[in-house]
Subunit: 149 residues, 2 copies
């Protein structure tokens, strides 16, 4: 039950933005370099985040990306769900695309999947980019360049 690189890279990129972009925008190239992610691939991920209203962009030379909202208003859940889709462990308990399963009424494994889904959402919705940026500050306060996320 692993997250794909979309979720992992996407969250790293967003924490990077939370740390490095206050007011100003950051070129994707810099994020990709700092986080060691293929620039072209990250481009596709950040396009999704932009369409989800989590980042905004400035085009042209000296352009770049920044958070579309204050970091304490963006949760890890917003980011992961934008990139990974629902965090439900099986499709039948997916909030959006709940497949109409013929056995639903008599199925007991659904109770397990629902609990997993709810707990995962509880965790990711309770952590904001602000929280992670603060943790980062604690861990890396002695470093001139704060590369690692």
């Amino acid at each position: 039950m692993r997250l794909s690189t979309k979720g992992r890279y996407g969250l790293k990129a967003m924490v990077d933005l939370a740390i490095h972009s206050q007011d100003k925008q950051i070129a994707l190239r810099h994020i990709a370099e700092r986080q060691d992610i293929s620039e072209h691939y990250l481009e596709q991920l950040i396009a999704v985040l932009r369409k989800s209203g989590l980042v905004k962009s400035v085009r042209g030379a000296q352009g770049g990306y920044s958070l579309a909202l204050p970091p304490d208003e963006i949760t890890v859940g917003d980011i992961l769900r934008a990139l990974e889709g629902s965090l439900a462990p099986v499709a039948c308990v997916d909030d959006e695309f709940a497949e109409n399963c013929a056995e639903w009424d008599y199925c007991v494994t659904k109770f397990v999947w629902q609990k997993i889904r709810d707990k995962v959402n509880e965790v990711v919705d309770s952590i904001t980019l602000q929280d992670l940026a603060e943790e980062h500050e604690k861990l890396n306060c002695d470093k001139e360049y704060m590369y690692y996320i």
Copy 2:
């Protein structure tokens, strides 16, 4: 972050066993038919469960499978981890195969992954086959044949 069919089919098969096998063993063919799973595929999954000590088998004609332990001593976590491996959302917080990540000390996203891992394990370790068999009883008490899991 979906579970594969291994975990889903495996749990269904184990609940089926919890319900249908008391003392006696059940042929894989019956489980596969009831749960609508390819028999050959399920064979591979149950082999893993057997090697993990969760089911036992009787070979030869009239042979079959049964739980290796009382249903209240087998948790959903035992089953899912046997079939899916660690339930950690990313490899770096995998209890067993924790990759030695160079950035570990400065990484903040690990806090998210650890919390998800812990909550998921908490859920699956708190539910036993006994619990699910009882839920099944409630849902299907009026049915002569209790197919659906």
